[in-house]
Amino acid sequence: MGILEVKGVNKRFGGLQALGDVNLSIAENTVHAIIGPNGAGKSTLLNVLIGKLIPDTGSVMFDGQSVLGRAPHEINQMGISRVFQTPEIFSELNVMENMMISCFAKRDGSFRMQAMADMFGEKDVVEKAEKMLVDMEMADKRYDHTAAMSRGDKRRLEIAMCLSQEPRLLLLDEPTAGMARADTNNTIDLLKQIKDERDITIAIIEHDMHVVFSLSERITVLAQGTPLVEDTPDNIKGHPKVKEAYLGEAA
């Protein structure tokens, strides 16, 4: 029984069957990649997992509880954090403030009225944010304005914010999309480090096969909205069905 169980999910947009009978089980403390050619339904699946889309049929259970019909902030508070394809951070605020927002969200839940306390007087939150920045090697960038940072740094901050919430499942949507090679490699190293040091399940959606094969322990190949095959990276590499999905149709 995995931490995330997707059963019989269908999603139709008009005449297009975006997801057709998707069954997926992500085991706890693994890195699970979901790959597939363009239009395979990867993003639709991800949006179902985080409550942005409601499937027509089927169920999505996280740790025994359904995530369907819950607001995104509720799903996050259940223990699912999401990293976006384009880094989503608070770009008007500096790095430390970004970190503190996620630390407050972890400590105080989705809403707490604290209008008279000094935010830097909340020592537990400040310490936690500082520690996370040190762990992520961003301590020297503490007061930098995030809008001017490189894409790699923004990604690093976004991941740091997600980790400070101690999620049980981290969803990554093409974390290296649009990145320079050096930034991509840094991000891979960072994710490897996270995987080794923390009890965390990572689900990753990715185009870049280099990223996928250097990180994941299980891979699900999605094609035309349906899981084609699920196996270890070594078996996936030479799998005829995968070759067909990626190359056969194109050829």
Partner: protein, 399 residues
Amino acid sequence: MLGLEKKDFNLLMVVVALSLFAPLILNIFPKESAFAFFNGGYPDLMQRFAIFGIFAIGFNILFGLTGYLSFGHAAFLGVGSYAAVWMFKLLGYNVLPGLILSVVVAGLLSVVIGFVSLRRSGIYFSILTLAFAQMMYSIAYSDLFGRWLGITLTNGETGLQVYNNDPQILMGPDSSTVPHIFGLEMSSRLTLPVGPWEFVFPVGYYFCAIFLVISFYLSIRIFRSPFGLMLRAVKSNNQRMTYTGLNPRPYTLAAFIISGMYAGLAGGLLASMDPLAGAERMYWTESGAVVIMTVLGGVGTLIGPVLGAGTIKYMENIISKMNEKLLHEWFSFLPESLEKAMVWSASWFTGEGWHMTQGVVFMLVIIFLPGGLVQGSNKLFGRRKRKSTDDAATKQPAE
């Protein structure tokens, strides 16, 4: 000090000093001098500085922090005034019950308006608040609810005022018949002639100034609090906020209610200075005025709204008093043809035309100082933007 960092405390002290010495600063020109016209230190104007300062500080908590541009805040100002006048009518001229009720009523109204309007953001939110405020204006102007209930609630276009036959149950035989705080009348003042100068210290102004300082202090606390941080998160990236497990709805609603209560307090104070309340106080131009004040001073800065409110109210009161006769006097040293030309062109921007001046000043500030007057003063004093004292977005903690 007072739970503030040093630079915030200094800023608070600046506001305290300005409020305390306003009657001196604003009467800088001797009474009989040619420039006495530019003195703004008369009670009626000073009160407005303080009251509209409070209004703009409250508005800035919503607009400056969350980015939600309300175009209907005059509704709360008007409701606050009506509530205060009703307390004068029912209880008596002590302003305290009136102020309490005006804050409470404005708070309750902002729960309703905020709950509905905050379902949308951006321009749709602005239009919803505008629609609500205009609805409130029409209701007050026609005294719709009063007519339904068969009583006088807002007294329609005449405006609500206190009559001799009102209950005023807390009034004794020797009670004051003008607004007062425990016997100290708002209209009383101390006039202090010093040589050619004449300084006026009005009770009403200082009463409002105390509220201004308290309002300013509370706004600093809110800006620096975890709650304030969350409001800035709303403005910055709503999507990241929800995917960080935070629910933006209650945060924005709380900010809306707080700023509504500030506006209610300002409305109550307006009525406390002059026990009248009229529907025109809820008209959309009043809502627009507070937007202009905040933007002119500097959106999202602490002191900006106070500066903006002061600037606008000064222009409104001084420039609108410049009539043609005065202009002729000023330009009388010129040859006649030139004088006529000067008066003709200046009259476009003075008297009734003061809105032109306001518009030009506003445009210049927006084009050259998008950060408002606060940005201007930072430039003037050579401070780099990153080090600015009260730019909320660049806050750095003391270590």
